[in-house]
């Protein structure tokens, strides 16, 4: 379906440029469209875009190489990517990947950054970090569209559809059904309806009143860092600039997080209302919703909400009839890069570039999109802001703790009877969430995603709040049947894959850490390797350029402290074991010299302490 040659590459690019403009900042959006149409970005598209947008071909190629969902070689007409988060693996995804590979006549297994592509070009199979369907996995993406609730039967059927070349539009609709699974509603989720009351209040009572309510509420950003929202808006409002921008961070790339997906599905009006209120407060005329590529299926829905709101006078020129209150929102798609959840990398990506973190200061509030003052907030933050302006700051402040006002929406997945979305007041202990979601014999909880903290049962009385356990919303449960080293290996591979590569500690340290963990997992590690992991982790934490590198070793350092047995039980007896097989390294020399007697072999120490010649 993608490989149709009816339209030439040049023709397609020309049309894309005509429809979507020649702003160099739209480069990534053009590339995503080309990728979707042709299953890769052909050289002809690179040349055409480079010429039309005044960016070098090298910059275009660098962008293709940076984003996981863009390719310079054709993928299959059916491009399948299995979600490879630990929760998908716990639900049996590895077995299903093997099944599909076998059914489609391919060999081997896909690895991160290495896809299997069938010779006839019909299909390719790869992996994606986490597709945000952890409560209904195992999941995969086919040509960018999410398929949930995979089992052997469903995978079998997918193999048939691919073999028969059935167009995606004619695949069974239930494959693509994405559930909301809202299990507990609180302050924010209690009422999805909007009458645009926050916007009316903004227009009737003025931006100062709206900002005062946000200030009074004590609302802090829901993306994880917890910066005070009112302060961010005020800084941006007061920063010098010719234009101001509002950006909604809907990149939700943190493994195990999926609440923003639900908010964008059922609460899109409130999220957009929050963005519009922010625009009114800071004086922005343009806004962007940066939507992760994995949620592309939400695009038509979100576009239709924007369109309806324009028709209702809630977006566009003179909003609600207020003279000079002009604001509209564009949706920009991401293309598979976790780092783009970091606000300055997200802005780079919005500008069509590789998503590499910017130097700070200046911060985006003074110098963001197009170097102008920009507010970047999380989906949940905008939703909360809309409610706060409607119901008032005290309403929000009435829940939560001293430093963490209001509620937190959690994405709960892993070993529990009822995975899904749970909203709690801040201050709720971990054990409460565990009992509500039906978790039993819980060994560990990974809170706030791969970058977050690993909790052992000793931590389950701790509370979810910025002053104790801050979280971006991910809550993954592991019962005592799990080997936590599987989680560590998954996250270590994730961070090595998702490092942008800009700074040394994250780029090299992340890869070293992954390799050492694999060495331990293979039963070749020693105490020395564990202390190396601590040392590398410490350097990454201290010296990395941005939050990705600072937090990437958390899971290793946490588990080394709290679950040392997952490493220890695999250690070889020696205090040091080399990272390569000394004897095997000599095999080439043996072949060249024609000598293969006992003396031509390194003596190898066996686990029981005896020495033998290999």
């Amino acid at each position: 379906m993608n490989a149709s040659t009816a339209v030439t590459v040049e023709g397609f690019v020309t049309e894309s440029l005509a429809t979507h403009g020649r702003d160099p900042r739209h480069l990534l959006q053009h590339l995503i469209r080309v990728q979707q149409r042709f299953s890769y970005v052909p050289d002809a598209a690179v040349e055409a875009l480079s010429a039309a947008l005044d960016v070098t071909r090298t910059q275009v190629r660098a962008a293709i190489a940076f984003y996981a969902f863009l390719h310079n070689r054709p993928r299959g007409a059916f491009e399948i990517r299995f979600s490879d988060n630990i929760t998908d693996r716990m639900l049996g995804s590895r077995r299903l990947i093997r099944l599909l590979v076998e059914r489609l006549g391919l060999t081997g297994l896909p690895a991160w950054g290495h896809d299997l592509i069938r010779d006839d070009g019909r299909v390719s199979i790869g992996l994606a970090s986490c597709t945000g369907m952890c409560d209904q996995g195992p999941a995969l993406l086919v040509n960018g569209y999410a398929v949930t609730h995979l089992d052997a039967q469903r995978v079998d059927r997918i193999a048939d559809l691919v073999q028969e070349g059935i167009l995606l539009e004619r695949w069974p609709g239930e494959f693509f059904r994405v559930g909301n699974n809202i299990r507990r509603r609180g302050l924010l989720l209690g009422n999805p309806a909007t009458d645009s009351a926050a916007l009316h209040r903004l227009v009737d009572e003025g931006a100062d009143v709206a900002l005062a309510e946000v200030e009074r509420s004590g609302l802090r950003g829901r993306g994880g860092a917890g910066f005070t929202t009112a302060l961010k808006w005020r800084f941006c409002r007061e920063a010098p600039g010719t234009e101001r921008y509002v950006v909604c961070n809907a990149d939700e790339g943190e493994p195990g997080t999926f609440k923003d997906r639900v908010l964008l599905t059922d609460y899109a009006d409130l999220v957009i209302e929050g963005m519009t209120v922010c625009a009114g407060v800071i004086g922005a005329r343009r806004g962007f919703l940066y939507l992760r590529g994995e949620y592309r299926y939400l695009l038509p829905h979100l576009e239709s909400v924007l369109q309806r709101r324009r028709a209702e006078g809630l977006l566009g020129m003179s909003i609600l009839g207020a003279d000079g209150f002009d604001f509209d929102i564009e949706i920009h798609l991401g293309a598979g890069a976790y780092i783009c959840g970091e606000e300055s990398a997200l802005i780079e990506s919005l500008e069509g570039k590789r998503g590499v973190t910017r130097k700070r200061p200046p911060f985006p509030v003074t110098s963001g999109f197009d170097d102008q003052p920009t507010v970047v907030n999380n989906v949940e933050t905008f939703l909360a802001a809309a409610r706060v302006v409607r119901w008032g700051g005290y309403w929000f402040r009435g829940e939560g703790t001293d430093q963490s006002a209001g509620s937190k929406i959690l994405s709960v997945s892993g070993d529990c009877a009822r995975p899904g979305i749970y909203e709690y007041p801040f201050g709720t202990p971990v054990h409460r969430v565990l009992s509500d979601c039906g978790a039993e014999n819980t060994q560990a909880v990974q809170i706030s995603g791969a970058a977050g903290a690993t909790l052992s049962p000793a931590d389950f009385d701790r509370i979810i709040a910025f002053e104790d356990l801050p979280t971006a919303g991910s809550f993954m449960v592991f019962d005592d049947s799990r080997d936590l080293l599987d989680m560590v290996r998954n996250f270590a591979a994730f961070f090595a894959h998702e490092s942008c590569g800009f700074c040394t500690p994250c780029r090299v340290g992340g890869a070293l850490l992954r390799n050492l963990i694999e060495k331990v997992a293979a039963g070749q590690g020693s105490e020395y390797d564990l202390s190396e992991m601590r040392r590398i982790g410490a350097v990454m934490r201290q010296a990395s350029y941005c939050g990705l590198g600072h937090t990437a070793p958390n899971h290793v350092l946490n588990t080394l402290d709290k679950f040392p047995q997952i490493y220890r039980r695999r250690l070889a007896r020696a205090s040091h074991t080399p990272s390569f097989d000394l004897d095997a390294a000599l095999s080439e020399a043996r072949a060249l010299t024609g000598r293969d007697d006992v003396g031509a072999h390194i003596r190898v120490q066996m686990p029981d302490g005896s020495e033998v010649s290999a």
Partner: protein, 239 residues
């Protein structure tokens, strides 16, 4: 009266807008660095100039100087962090100091000596990176590239050519050249470009001039980098 901060117990004067690195360079106090070059905007990517301020580590090249800061740039803890970062750079590429034409005049090597790095320590990655000898005057050996982006910045900001860029991500990050073939010889690069003279390692080398100064008599063979500073300031002597 000018403002000051303390660097390893020494009062360092600074002007508003200067970074810790700017002020230290002006005061002739050495803070090791690789991706920093005062002729270009600070980058902060190599992390070798990491210093400690009240228990927080920041890169001196990007952190603003401010009144009363107490900066530690020489404790064993800071040197150990720098050493680990250098050891990472050495195992990431393929560095063959004893045989390298830049040996003795290489900033990477000199900074490694300065921090007391005696061995690569970590497991080598041994990447396969081809050498590009397509240009008549200059050779690029990607094995020695440390992704400092000085050539990227020099070509873009000084030469107005945009010859270089970084592609890929993570450990796959690599320097690429803007020409149809991807080769330097097919690009607009010239030996007189600023970008040909900013590399802190032996990744960008002039052709036909190897070993003009014997190893052992070169810049950092004679004096340590903390005394003589960056190789770029001595280019006439060393190439």
């Amino acid at each position: 009266m000018s403002k000051t901060f303390t660097l390893d117990g020494r009062e360092i004067p600074f002007e508003t807008g200067q970074t810790i690195m700017d002020a230290a360079l002006a005061a002739a106090v050495y803070i090791p660095h690789l991706c920093h070059n005062p002729e270009f905007a600070p980058h902060g990517s190599c992390r070798v100039c990491v210093v400690d301020i009240g228990g927080r580590q920041v890169s001196a090249c990007t952190a603003a100087a401010s009144e009363g800061l107490v900066v530690d740039s020489s404790s064993e803890a800071i040197q150990a962090t720098r050493r680990a970062i250098l050891q990472m750079l050495f195992v990431e590429g393929n560095h063959v100091c004893p045989a390298c034409e830049k040996s003795g005049a290489c900033q990477l090597q000199a900074v490694a000596y300065y921090t007391g790095m005696l061995a690569p320590h970590f497991t080598h990655f041994f990447p396969r990176r081809p050498v590009d000898a397509s240009h008549p005057d200059v050779i690029i050996d990607f094995n020695r590239c440390i992704l400092c982006e000085l050539c990227v910045r020099a070509s873009r900001d000084h030469d107005g050519k945009r010859v270089f860029a970084i592609s890929g991500r993570g450990l796959e990050s690599h320097l690429v050249i803007d020409s149809p073939s991807g080769l330097l010889g097919d690009s607009s690069f010239a030996a007189g470009d600023k970008a040909a003279h900013v590399c802190p390692t032996g990744a960008i080398l002039p052709k036909g001039r190897g070993y003009e100064t014997p190893i052992g008599e070169r810049l950092y063979d004679r004096e340590p980098i903390s005394i003589v500073g960056d190789v770029r300031a001595h280019e006439e002597e060393v190439v």
